[in-house]
Amino acid sequence: MSWADAIFWLLAATALLAGWRVFRTDSMVRASFFLLASFIAVGAIMLMLGAAYLGFATIFMMAVEMMVMALFMVMFMMNPAGLNPMSMVHQHGLAIVAGLVTFAGLGAFALSVDLPSRPLPAGAEVTAPLGRELLGPSMLVFESAGVTLLATMICAVVLSSRSGRFGPSDAGSVPPSIDPTAQEKS
């Protein structure tokens, strides 16, 4: 086994183990950062495969996303610091079976199909062709992704803003005046 293969298997094991630990750990911040570790391992494998821009962009994006995820986990989980043991699962048996069936099905596909072997030419530039592809033949896909992200931003702000369908929830209310003896005006 060459060095590259050894490093690949080490990174793959890290990705899978970290992904497993996401659902087993008690501390929620650790869960988010275990997921980040899984993503970093996958990003490193992508770097080994020659995708220079994609590997680092994955690590970059996932760092930011997992940071935000950690904040939301602390907001919404009842046991964020992991000081008590907890397990919040439902339909555990079904989930395990579904996971194993998915893995077996996809793995069977990987092993049984006769995939062609056309490796990336050594020393090829990958970033410049990607840029030309994004802004040339695949401009429509790129722009659609951009508009989708804009729609997502607007949608997220609308969903999570405090004012509901009937206006801001505190419309019409006034803060208490500084002078405690002032008469209330109706």
Partner: protein
């Protein structure tokens, strides 16, 4: 140069740079007076002695693995950032095709390192420092990425050696005037200094470092200074032309420019006031982000001509 040699040189430059940063801080204290309410054990000889003599205390139920990991991660990221920088016009310790994106990854992982440092001590003031810093750090990181893309446009490449090469005629700081000031603000943020020091500030009694003591405290301060070294060389490379310049050899020019940026950051850290966190957040999103778009537009128009 062999990989081990490159690693050795990088770490050597890092340690020398940290010593220089300590001297700059001492000079700032001499010229501008001591920092009000500053906790002791900053990066001085006294701090070193303190770190060796004092024990490192822990809090109740800390996340000890993350607490000890945070300064190591911070230092590792600083070393990674420094390794990207070209020391001669066509050579860098680590020359990747997408160098700017690697620096972006260094920035975002730094925010995570600071958050972990604040979260893991299971204490109130460090937690507040960590949360404030995440909000400000992620926002100012967006600003810096647009500014860096603007610097990459004339080079038509994300590779740092190409960006250095594209500045042979004119430095990026001159033809993209908004770039360097905005990038310096990011530098203040990731080195936790001055107006962007929402993580380790005196109004939180040391913030994420409030529960640090002994050797881990020194490690954190060392890592902060190391990140300043890495940032200064990166700013000198992307905006001031890096190793380019007449007469003197490349590495000397890079050191001079990086030293200038580091002195500038230390001065800005002492001279600018830190607004309230929510005001700074509004300022970043409403003023700085549009300015970074403007910088990108200027860079684009420049390149199209």
């Amino acid at each position: 140069m062999s990989p081990l040699g490159a690693l050795g040189v990088t770490l050597g430059v890092l340690v020398a740079g940290v010593v220089l940063v300590g001297l700059l801080d001492a000079l700032a204290r001499l010229v501008l007076g001591p920092v009000p309410l500053e906790t002791p054990d900053r990066l001085t000889l006294e701090g070193l002695r303190g770190a060796v003599r004092r024990q490192s205390l822990t809090t109740e139920h800390p996340d000890l693995a993350a607490w000890r990991l945070a300064p190591a991660a911070y230092l590792g990221l600083a070393a990674a950032g420094l390794a990207l920088v070209p020391v001669a016009a066509d050579r860098a310790a680590v020359d990747v095709e997408a160098g700017i994106v690697v620096w972006g990854a260094v920035e975002s992982l730094t925010v995570i390192a600071v958050f972990l440092h604040g979260w893991s001590s299971n204490s109130l003031l460090p937690l507040l420092g960590a949360y404030r810093f995440v909000a400000i750090g992620l926002s100012v990181m967006l600003v810096s990425m647009f500014v860096l893309i603007g610097a990459a446009l004339p080079a038509e490449s994300l590779r740092l050696t190409a960006i250095v090469e594209s500045q042979r005629g004119l430095w990026n700081a001159v033809r993209q005037p908004l770039g360097l000031p905005l990038f310096l603000l990011l530098g203040l943020a990731i080195t936790l200094r001055g107006p962007m020091d929402y993580a380790d500030s005196a109004d939180l009694a040391g913030g994420t470092s409030a529960e640090d003591s002994g050797a881990p405290r020194l490690a954190w301060q060392f890592a902060r200074a190391a990140m300043l070294v890495a940032f200064a060389t990166m700013a000198a490379t992307v905006f001031l032309g890096g190793p380019l310049g007449p007469l003197l050899p490349g590495p000397v020019w890079l050191l001079l420019k990086a030293g200038f940026v580091a002195a500038l950051l230390v001065a800005l850290g002492r001279l600018l006031a830190r607004p309230d966190a929510s005001r700074m957040l509004t300022f970043i999103w409403v003023v700085l982000l549009p300015l970074s778009f403007l910088d990108l537009a200027i860079a684009g128009l420049e390149t199209l001509r």
